[in-house]
């Protein structure tokens, strides 16, 4: 089989498998959600502080909950297969529209947090593994552990308290200055200012994981034979660190990064909640509490697709980093 054919074969097989996974996930999600006690009409009644049988019945009919479970499932799967994510009766909007509306904010937050964690984590891990100054290495380890051990809501609120309430440098919540009517560059700058605290809160949490993985991965091969060989060849320490040690440490990092990237659409519910960031994580969380089934299923569906895609990408990345790994569908 030619190299090209192998790739094609690999990708097709994986996509087919992925579709199956998405279908199974959809059915499982649907069943799980409908198994949870409580229904959307009752939640609305609870929030209204008033209710009567007619009110509940009306909503049930509107939400399609008066039909048998199997029929509801069938209708949903058919709908999704034809590319329609359904309608949120609670919000009186199409689910696809709701998700697309929230997607940019979530991607901006998770992607920048993710990049921050990767870059800082790799750098810290690298420095900690290669520095000759023991205190520096230890300081990095301690700080990283501390960041990882601190609950995310604490870091976030402390950030708001210091930078928004005391210093007044950064906005405390939201994604834009409301009612400022900014355009172009000013708008981007305003958005970035709002993005800074949430990104730091989210990113710093994961820095520790990457830093420790990198450091451990590099140290484990420090005395390996191929490193000694490289030294004997007269390579510069920097080249040994980067090309031989760091590259070796990358595999577990890719594994973790792949898993994390799959969660990029799921968003970061906690961070989005603390900073009132208008992302998908919050949309899903609210939908869960409100039993807004279609929205929740829609978010699950989109994130399961993203997970499948990133799994394929991760597998490809393995083969690029480590030629010993082969593509097997």
């Amino acid at each position: 089989m030619s190299e090209k054919m192998r790739w094609l074969f690999f990708i097709t097989r994986r996509i087919a498998k992925g579709l199956l996974v998405v279908l199974i996930a959809t059915v499982a999600n649907f069943a799980l959600i409908h198994l949870a006690p409580g229904d959307p009409a009752m939640v609305l009644a609870g929030e209204a502080g008033a209710s009567d049988p007619q009110f509940i019945e009306q909503l049930h009919r509107e939400f399609g909950l008066d039909r048998p479970f199997a029929q509801q499932l069938l209708i949903y799967v058919e709908q999704v297969a034809s590319g329609n994510l359904g309608y949120s009766y609670r919000q009186q909007t199409g689910v696809a529209e709701l998700i697309l509306d929230r997607l940019p904010a979530t991607l901006a937050l998770t992607a920048s947090g993710y990049l921050l964690a990767l870059i800082l984590g790799l750098s810290f891990g690298y420095v900690a593994a290669t520095t000759r100054l023991r205190p520096v290495g230890e300081a990095i380890t301690v700080i990283a552990t501390l960041l990882y051990a601190t609950p995310i809501f604490l870091t976030g609120l402390a950030g708001v308290l210091v930078f928004s309430v005391w210093l007044g440098w950064l906005p405390a919540f939201g994604s834009t200055s409301v009612g400022a009517d900014l355009g172009g560059v000013e708008y981007a700058a305003d958005y970035a200012r709002h993005l800074l605290l949430p990104t730091l809160t989210l990113g710093l949490f994961y820095v520790a994981v990457y830093a420790r993985l990198t450091r451990a991965g590099m140290l484990i091969v420090k005395d390996a034979d191929f490193i000694k060989t490289a030294r004997c060849k007269g390579l510069s320490p920097r080249r040994i660190h980067v090309a031989h040690m760091l590259r070796n440490a990358l595999l577990p990092i890719i594994t973790l990064a792949g898993i994390q990237a799959g969660q990029i659409v799921g968003g970061a519910v906690l961070v989005e909640t603390i900073f009132a960031w208008p992302g998908i994580g919050r949309l899903a969380f609210d939908a869960l509490l409100q039993r807004d089934y279609n929205v929740l299923l829609g978010v699950f569906l989109v994130s399961s697709i993203v997970v499948v895609i990133f799994n394929i990408v991760t597998d490809i990345a393995y083969t690029l980093i480590d030629p010993r790994i082969e593509l097997l569908a």
């Binding site: 009752m42 609870g46 929030e47 049988p53 609670r90 609120l157 007044g168 009132a276 409100q290």
Partner: protein, 528 residues
């Protein structure tokens, strides 16, 4: 002649906006924005289709009712400038303001009132459906006169016209359509001082000044922004950060209130909730032994230190409750005997029931379904567990989310749970629903979910709704309160005093008994 003259005539309306307010220290300024918190994010802004508390706050600026109610729950003119109630209590005549236009420019007339109260609201709104079910005919003899005829007298009928319980809706937009799916629901059209501008889902809702508002020179504010901030701690910080001017209801956890109270630029008030008068209690399922025994329920009352709950859990944002009617409501009987905190007497009662302590010191084990409405309620549940343990009642806490809570309570699948409800201006509207046996309806929240039955109580409530003289009603409600306090159908805990916290630069936010849910047409802020 016993005729309740309630004519305010055109005078009051003409003077609208110039009413002297004791708190108004300066001449209102035009301009400026108000940044408020809305929590949770409403699902829809059309009042009448959605009754969520959050919807009422935002949409209360867009829509209006015929009347508003002052802090002592007396009706005041709004879209109706004057009204009369016939001597037999069967005919209510409203005179409408002539200068009112919908936000799309169409005139507001008696046809809209007839449409809202006979068609729209009865098909969508549980509270209005109940109130207007007593009406036989609604007629518009003139474009600005509406006459309601009742089948039998219903004294609190005059309390049924608040924005939240009977919002006026535009006939020209909704008549003959499916109300819930009408495309116009995305851009609500009302008569209020503020118009819908935009809604960034998950972020904020913007309302803007209605230049064509029927009160001259009002409103004062240019825009109102309702921000969605899902985290309670972040909401408190946003007030301290001064990016938010106003928080209300349960936006702020009581534990944070003392801290905010100390900020010189913030003011805290508990006024503006008289219409709601939220009362909390332990809901008791009488079908489960030994909860059906009156002595057990009295023991619950005696075993709990309500002052402690008010002071230590609600940080003073609550007041011990005595009985079924809040002390802020009309017809509250101030001479009611209050249950003291007396664990010893509670134990004596439990002993008299034959519920003696076993080897582990337990008399009974009961499940308590916690109320999933924030940390404070979790603490209340934990306190109850502690307090009841002292008298030998072992409590198993069950925690669920709001959806599951609502379903379990409505379907009677609980032993004890916590709950609070609004009293809606009159005991006949907001109180009787909890205790009368005709309201034992499975699957319906805020009904008589305890399964409490007392034909004397049914009869007294029915009578109190019909007689029209206040002193006669007071006497009947006094009897009701005495019986209920003795029988303890639910164990009342505290009257909630929601804190409204606002920046000192905004004024006249709270001018009625519906407080922040009112129109804000008098609110203004200092020039910056």
């Amino acid at each position: 002649m016993r005729r309740r003259e309630l004519f305010f005539a055109g005078m009051a309306a003409a003077a609208a906006g110039l009413w002297p307010r004791s708190e108004a220290k300066a001449q209102p300024q035009k301009g400026g924005r108000l940044h408020a918190i809305v929590q949770p994010e409403p699902s829809l802004l059309v009042l009448g289709l959605n009754l969520q508390s959050a919807t009422q706050m935002v949409a209360g600026k867009i829509y209006q009712g015929l009347l508003t109610y002052d802090a002592r729950l007396r009706p005041q003119p709004a879209l109706a400038t004057a009204w009369t109630i016939s001597e037999d209590g069967l005919t209510y005549t409203f005179l409408l303001n002539r200068n009112v236009r919908w936000h799309d420019g169409q005139p507001f007339t008696a046809d809209d009132v007839v449409f809202a109260t006979t068609k729209f609201l009865p098909s969508t709104h549980p509270v209005a459906r109940n109130n207007f079910s007593r009406v036989t005919t609604v007629e518009a003899p003139d474009p600005h006169v509406v006459v309601f005829r009742l089948a039998e007298p219903f004294s609190p009928f005059i309390m049924a016209f608040a924005t939240g319980s009977a919002p006026m809706l535009p006939k020209h937009i909704y008549d003959g359509t499916d109300y819930r799916t009408n495309a116009a629901n995305a851009t609500p059209i009302g008569t209020g001082p503020f118009k819908f501008k935009q809604w960034k889902k998950g972020q904020y809702i913007q309302l803007t000044r209605n230049e064509d508002y029927w009160k001259p020179r009002q409103p004062y504010l240019d825009d109102i922004f309702f921000h969605v901030i899902p985290d309670a701690s972040s909401r408190a910080l946003a007030l301290e950060d001064k990016t938010i001017d106003l928080a209300s209801f349960s936006d702020i956890e009581p534990a944070d209130v003392p801290r905010l109270r100390k900020r010189p630029y913030l003011e805290v008030t508990s006024r503006g909730y008289e219409y709601f008068s939220p009362l909390s209690w332990i809901e008791i399922n009488h079908r489960v032994a030994p909860l059906g025994d009156k002595r057990f329920r009295q023991a619950l009352m005696l075993a709990l230190d309500r002052q402690f709950i008010a002071d230590r859990i609600f940080f003073g944002q609550a007041k011990p409750a005595v009985g079924p009617i809040s002390s802020t409501m009309r017809f509250f009987d101030a001479r009611l005997p209050a249950y003291p905190y007396d664990p010893t007497r509670a134990e004596t009662l439990l002993d008299s029931m034959g519920l003696t302590r076993d080897a582990a010191g337990r008399r009974a084990t009961i499940k308590l379904l916690a109320l999933p409405y924030g940390e404070t309620w979790t603490r209340v549940a934990e306190y109850i567990r502690q307090a009841l343990q002292k008298v030998g009642i072992s409590i198993v806490l069950e925690t669920v989310d709001a959806g599951a809570w609502a379903q379990r309570v409505a379907n009677w699948e609980f032993e004890l749970t916590l709950d609070f409800t609004y009293q809606l201006g009159d005991p006949a509207i907001g109180v009787s629903r909890t205790y009368i046996s005709s309201n034992i309806r499975k699957g319906v929240l805020f009904s008589n979910t305890m399964g409490y039955r007392n034909s004397k109580i049914d009869e007294l409530f029915a009578q109190a709704a019909i007689v029209s003289a206040d002193h006669e009603r007071a006497a009947l409600y006094s009897q009701i309160q005495n019986i209920l306090v003795d029988e303890v159908p639910v164990a009342w805990l505290v009257e909630l005093q929601f804190p409204t916290i606002f920046n000192i630069h905004v004024h006249d936010l709270i001018v009625s008994s519906t407080g922040v849910n009112d129109s804000f047409d008098e609110a203004y802020r200092d020039a910056i």
